[in-house]
Subunit: 446 residues, 2 copies
């Protein structure tokens, strides 16, 4: 029997647990799920005979160590900052480890120790990062294998609400940690390379520089730049590429209105507002609009948004910004915390809503004096509010990778990510069987 | 003989040293000046028989302690963060201490210990903070003494170039630490109260919300908001005041163009630019403008500045932003560091230039059913590049306060600032004799 220890039973673990338990007889798996919330575990394992729920504080080394010792493979679905503690244990105990998160500097520094211990620490194998790496590397390697040279690579990803449930003027609902959405793009400029020129976009212009993206059957989107596109040059073996750009997808109109939230100052997380517990959405908004002895908050917002801004005004109105009845009641809150409270009230998924994950790559390359473009995209709709698209696209690649490590088809050791054909080919093939599939369109350019 | 130890012989110490040495015979002073640069000290003490230059590292406790022990009074003109170390020594040795800087939390926490030691630690007694406190408190106390109630207090201060030497399109030259000018307003919103409403201005709008100020003989200025106006309510005994606002003064046009530097992203100090040592002013600017296959940097900047922006374009051109000959050569530089390099090349005081300090207060108050406005302003021009206005306005209040402590006319102990009549009245009176004087205009409002 192959013992899998999964640490963390949150949203992204649902599909992962289902995948493993569905194959547990055939592959002879036993799944131990550790979380501080036993009910949450049981809601997902459903008391499957090949599963065990362990209610522990996984951040306490003494509590988790006995389960790590018994495991053949460890999967950490904890928040990214905690993987490092699990990784240290896995090296000491010589256990393979998978996490879906970005490789931190701390994790990267364990490469040599992991190799010495003979284990693999596989990272960035969910979605953004994960499926984006695998699907892009597959095409890049194919182009290169045919003798082509990639001139431009642009890649976008977005977690959105499925079209059927797209019922508000923002055309957005939270399918992901709302705090990360509110703080998106803060703490430094976004940078990328365009025709060999380094370009930097400061936070205050991030949601104003947009790329239009159109996807058959799913309509129009807009992409804004992610923080650091440059590091992908070396990761993808594209050093010297003239253009590389990564972005986040939203529906048209979202970014223009979000930019006004930034201009107002509502996304700032650097200070606490005086007497924040007494603020209503209306007084919160008014604190960022100029004083006027008679003009209403509505009119001052219209002044701020400028002419022909009824679309944006409608978005503010939908969020309840003019409501003055109930103070939000959050003491010592930053503007970003108060904005999050307002957004979560109106932009959360409703009962029965489904989410949608959209990914879009564009490659321009030269081959034998010709220039080509490949567009590759994937749209995935969630099944329900447990097996969301986010849960499927994060959890399933992790689960497939777990299977591959346990059946011995991955031989690499050290700190890894899924950018080699031995790893991404079988995972992408199985994801396609599971309904996560890319469409590809190749065009010859003039 | 009264032994004064002055630590730090930088720009702001020139006038302070001259004041003390000019009175050293009459008042029986002996001035010991400690700095790591002996030449700098001697350029200012000029080997005056009642002075001594001590070349030490004042941040080394062992090095400074013998001089502290011999002092009757200590003046710290070090950068603000170092005062706390000197303050600890002064408490241990029971020596009075003066610094011109804002009271830090660390200094504030020494209040009780200073009282126990029987010493005064006088702070915020230069300019902004210093003369602004004293001149404002004098008027506030006068209004209150006559039974008036202050409804609104707005106060502005700016270090600028004297009109005769105002020779560039920015109407600005550095008279102060350039790094502080480049980073002004960063790290949180500016906040103030207007008619009992809290107002917050985020950094990206700070230089767009301007107050026009006009001063007889000196013409027009514009004020932008300082970081925190709210704390002055309790300091000035104005709790409950409906309107309080503090700002910084520049000449008209400066703020509009500076705001474009912010919009571009050039003032950001949060990240390092790739290969920054190779950037010229032109490639630096271009990194923040959109890519275009044929359009020049000049044209792209014009697009960015928008129509009717020839005044702003001229300011960018003056700074040499289109020069592409010599890389700036600063490795691992943030945009803010590179911008500072560009600005310092073009906006520094030339040989023979004089600086100018401008302060402007506006009080609106109610008295016996009538409403009045008092405007109070001070313009001070520097003597030369040693005895600048900045040196005079920072150093002279410190020097006068030193005299008062040594002749026993200040009895307070603990951590203090100059907001009581016993302290500000004699200092303001003597500053007036020294040419730092306020004009006052009272108007009855309708």
């Amino acid at each position: 029997m192959k013992n899998i220890l999964l640490i963390g039973a949150g949203l992204s673990s649902s599909s992962l647990i289902r995948y493993i338990l569905e194959r547990s007889e055939k592959e002879d798996y036993f799944l131990v799920v550790a979380d501080k919330d036993e009910k949450l575990i049981l809601s997902k394992t459903k008391n499957h005979p090949r599963s065990k729920a362990i209610q522990i504080n996984a951040l306490d080394r003494e509590e988790r160590l006995p389960y790590l010792k018994e495991a053949d493979l460890v999967i950490s679905m904890l928040p990214a900052i905690y993987h490092i503690e699990i990784a240290h244990d896995c090296i000491a105990l010589q256990k393979n480890l998978i996490t879906p998160s970005y490789i931190s500097d701390a994790i990267r520094s364990l490469d040599e120790a992991a190799i010495k211990a003979g284990i693999i620490i596989m990272n960035e194998i969910g979605v953004d990062p994960g499926i984006d790496h695998m699907s892009a590397m597959k095409i890049i390697h194919e182009i290169q294998a045919e003798g082509g040279k990639v001139h431009s690579f642009k890649s976008f990803c977005g977690g959105l609400v499925a079209p059927e449930f797209d019922t508000n003027p923002w055309h957005y609902k939270f399918t992901w940690n709302p705090r990360n959405v509110v703080l998106a793009g803060q703490g430094g400029a976004s940078c990328f390379i365009e025709e060999n020129q380094y370009k930097y976009i400061p936070y205050n212009r991030l949601f104003k520089r947009l790329d239009p993206i159109s996807i058959p059957e799913y309509g129009d989107f807009e992409g804004y730049a992610n923080r650091d596109s440059l590091k992908y040059r070396s990761i993808y073996g594209l050093d010297g590429i003239p253009t590389i750009y990564r972005g986040t997808l939203r529906r048209p109109g979202y970014a223009e209105a979000w930019s006004k939230l930034i201009d107002l100052g509502l996304t700032d997380d650097n200070y606490q507002m005086d007497l924040s517990e007494k603020l209503t959405p209306r007084t919160f908004l008014n604190a960022f609009l100029p004083y006027h002895p008679t003009r209403s908050v509505e009119d001052k917002l219209k002044d701020f948004l400028g002419p022909d801004a009824s679309n944006m005004y409608e978005k503010f109105e939908f969020l309840g910004f003019f409501e003055d009845q109930n103070p939000m009641g959050i003491p010592n809150a930053s503007p970003a915390q108060l904005l999050q409270e307002i957004l979560v009230r109106k932009l959360s998924l409703n009962q029965g809503d489904k989410d949608m994950l959209v990914m879009f790559h564009e490659f321009v390359y030269h081959m034998k004096d010709e220039k080509y473009k490949i567009e590759s995209y994937m749209v995935n709709i969630g099944e329900d509010q447990t097996y969301t698209s986010m849960s499927n696209t994060v959890g399933l690649p992790v689960a497939i990778c777990a299977k591959m490590i346990l059946n011995g088809s991955i031989h690499a050791t050290g700190v890894q990510m899924p950018i080699t054909p031995e790893i991404y080919n079988p995972i992408l093939a199985e994801l396609e069987e599971l309904g996560i599939r890319f469409e590809e369109k190749k065009t010859k350019l003039a």
